[in-house]
Amino acid sequence: MADAANYKAIGTRPIRPDGIEKVTGRANFGADLNLPDMLHGKVLRSPHAHARIKRIDLSKALAVDGVYAAVSSADFPQEVTSSLSINILARDKALYHGHAIAAVAARTPRIAEEAIELIEVEYEVLAPVLSLDEAMQENATLVNEHLRTNDEESAPPSNIASTQKFERGDVQKGFDEADVIVEEAFRVPSAHQGYIEPHACVATSNPGGRVTIWCTTQGPFEVRSATAGVLAKTVSDIKVIPSEIGGGFGGKTVVYLEPVAVRLSELTGKPVKMVMNREEVFRATGPASATLCKIKVGATKDGRITAAQAWLAYEAGAFPGSPVGPGAMSVFAPYDLENFLVEGYDVLVNKPKVAAYRAPGAPQSMHAMECAIDELAQRLDMDPIDLRLKNAAKEGTVAPYGPKFPPIGLVKCLEAAKRHPNYATKPEEGVGRGVAVGFWFNIGMQSSAEVCVAEDGAVSIMEGSPDIGGSRASMCLMAAETLGVPYETINAHVGDTESTGFCNLTGGSRTTFATGLAVVKACEDVIAQCKARAALTWELDVDQVEWQDGRAVPKPGVNIDVDPLSLAEIAKTMSRTGGPLLGRASLNAQGAGACFSVNWTDVIIDRETGKVDVKAFTAVQDAGRAIHPAYVEGQMQGGAVQGLGWALNEEYIYDGNGVVENASFLDYRVPVASDMPMIDCEIIEVPNPSHPYGVRGVGETPIVAPLAATSNAVRDVLGFRINDLPLSPPNVLAAIDAAE
């Protein structure tokens, strides 16, 4: 491989192959497909956060003219008892307000809407469990009477689905050695992923039992297996065709509508379309866990951390499975610690089942830790970056979660932050600054890619990763670099579950790393074939030919006088040299490099209204290698804005009965463009040795640090800390008033 300085394609910023379709409104998203004779499905949702379902009578809905079918969970395989299946349609209990109860398919969306109102459901309303504190009490009302902590049969039923604990060294000894100890508790509310495109699908089942699903998803292969699971089918009964996707951020890694649409199609023999409205998206999908995180951290006078302890409780929603695991594994990841103890609790409450959201689990726990570190810096009178540098994890550090770190970029990011003009310039009077570190593990997993070369030398890539952040452009750039041909001659396509090899979902920041690796290997396969074709043409051995700048040439020293053969030239004659050129690769990628960042927020506060305004925000992040720097910056900026929204105004507001009161974008306040300053980005490149071009995932880390960076900035202005998020005007004003 060429070294970084000689890259021709990698590191450039061409426009994306899907750009024109999107900006001209031609791209098809989840709700854009319509089929002849298609029906429209609509879901009836629980008006109670917790209720026993005594009876569901669909007959009045079925009697409506234009209604073709109505289903409840009774119409699904009862032997399947997964959380997923019970989340899709409630069984004996409604477990949260908005939990799906029944569904109908009708000629028009309007008839379907009217018909669901006629479904009779008899509920026995139960007291809902709405907070971690309530849920973890000994005699708490139970969300699930059959759930025992860690599946221990001898234990009494509990809302605590699982616990975890891991430790190193001796925390007591560490705290004894400390000169300063910070101990604080922090709450972070639930936040929704806030993707602009609601969930949508069309499903059709043919009389032979073959099912086709078109949907908006981060993972068509996972939609296939999840839907097959709920319907007790086998994956090969189902074909899933992903549409363009209008945001996911982790929220489109699960299914809600697809199995229901399939069942309705099976019953009616017609295609069924289901589209959520925004209110349904808020009430029944996502969100990220609300959490309570307690942190204790001690250090010597010179800033060496001697011990750290975390107690983390995460709301899972109505079913087990909060990201407390990754939250616990990431909480201390940036630090080289001798002594630590982490305890985590996965806790059921009568709220929607949480879903992944960018670096799932890390923003909450790391908010707590990064606030505590800031507090430590205050008490030690140290620069917050210096304190972190003193304790930073580096190559060779044994990560708190187990492995020894390969080359990582934390120290470089911290050093770059210190040098950055935005950090070197001290904030003006009245402006507060807060620093925090972000981290995410990143994952590899399975990917496939096929690369075909057309007769004119144009290259098309088929892969299976839905493109959320510009990944098709990155695939084309890596292919251009590997093959040595211009970016413009390459196109990338996201296939369906039957047109490309298996591919895990777009998530875990894995796509550019793992699918990218498959694309590079598939291109190398094409190169090998091209060399063989050239060798055939020149009557040489294949190992006498090499690939240079997009052309086959005889190796130095091979005594033959021929012109190099370009990819296009080889393609032109391929029918005579062995037929079509098609490279392929499939793999289970190992060694996704961890990604670190350093962020700082500058804020001002209106002390009379409690409003926090972000004046400046800077993100420094290790990308390993930025294949398409503009899209790396896009990830950094998008994640920063989502993190700032979570820090400032985003939260679920529940009434006493467990009903979300702000299930709309009017009152669930994501930032609008005019709320945000320019998010300044500096990309650091510490190549990942497990990828031919050094790629690390960059998509998730950016959301982690803004929460604590903003909290720390608010502390800098006020002189005291507000531990809980969001830092919304009423909360900030109340804290100011209380402090006066």
């Binding site: 009379e608 009161e661 005007p729």
Partner: protein, 293 residues
Amino acid sequence: MSNFGYVAPTTVEETLSVLKRATDQGQRAQILAGGTDVIVQMRSVDNSHRLFVDIKALRETNEVLIEEEQVYIGAAIPSGVLNENATLKTLLPGLLESADLIGSTQIQGRASIGGNLCNSSPAGDTIPALIANAAICVIATSEGIRTVPVENFVTGVGRNCLVGNEFLLGFQIPRPSTGTGDAYLRFIPRTEMDIAVVGAAVAVTLGQDGICSHARVAIGAVAPTPLLVDAAGVALVDTPVDEEALRRAAQICSDASQPITDKRGTIEYRRKVVGVLCRRAGAIARDRALSNQ
């Protein structure tokens, strides 16, 4: 959303008779101005069948008349159009700013102050500014025109004093005299595309000596209806509208507010911030009055 009829009469008489015919036939009729409330509500609240009577084709709802004694502003003029009127902007900067806060550029191509008032939300942004400027509603009825001061127009959340087939034609506003200035401020957690958590409007007239001879203060989003706070105005009269007088007026506003705790703010928050906004809006109104001598 196909469940509606639509007519666009061109005279007041025709409008009244269309409305009467609909009522006589037991049909629901609803006035349509910019539709930026109505169309959203059809999706979110109630999409039952109705006849939309579009009043944008009437002269009376579309004209601006600037006379010696008073200013007339048609009820259906979009905020974007109002804000292009340079004379109005100098005469009533606070009122125009309140209209300019509604939604976004796209929304302002349609959203009218008549619609904002008739929607009768406690948080309607133009209502406190209309009240502070002593605006009077000009209402078309089958018996002719009747007038109602804006502060008496809204009677409850989403309710107002229009009865039967009445509809709003426009607003008469006393032409601000020399030495008058107005201002409106609202609080939202974001910078735009949000609903006022609290709003306050102040209009003051200062004499040559810088002493206030006349003042009106109105507050929004802190009670079931926007409120005229007489006592806050009184507290400013005979003062130079200085910090001390403004603090008194602010306290009176806080005391006069009857806020609720909801997803947009708490009682304590709204009570406090309505005073803050009254003080800040008062200072802006005073400075405008001083530069307008």
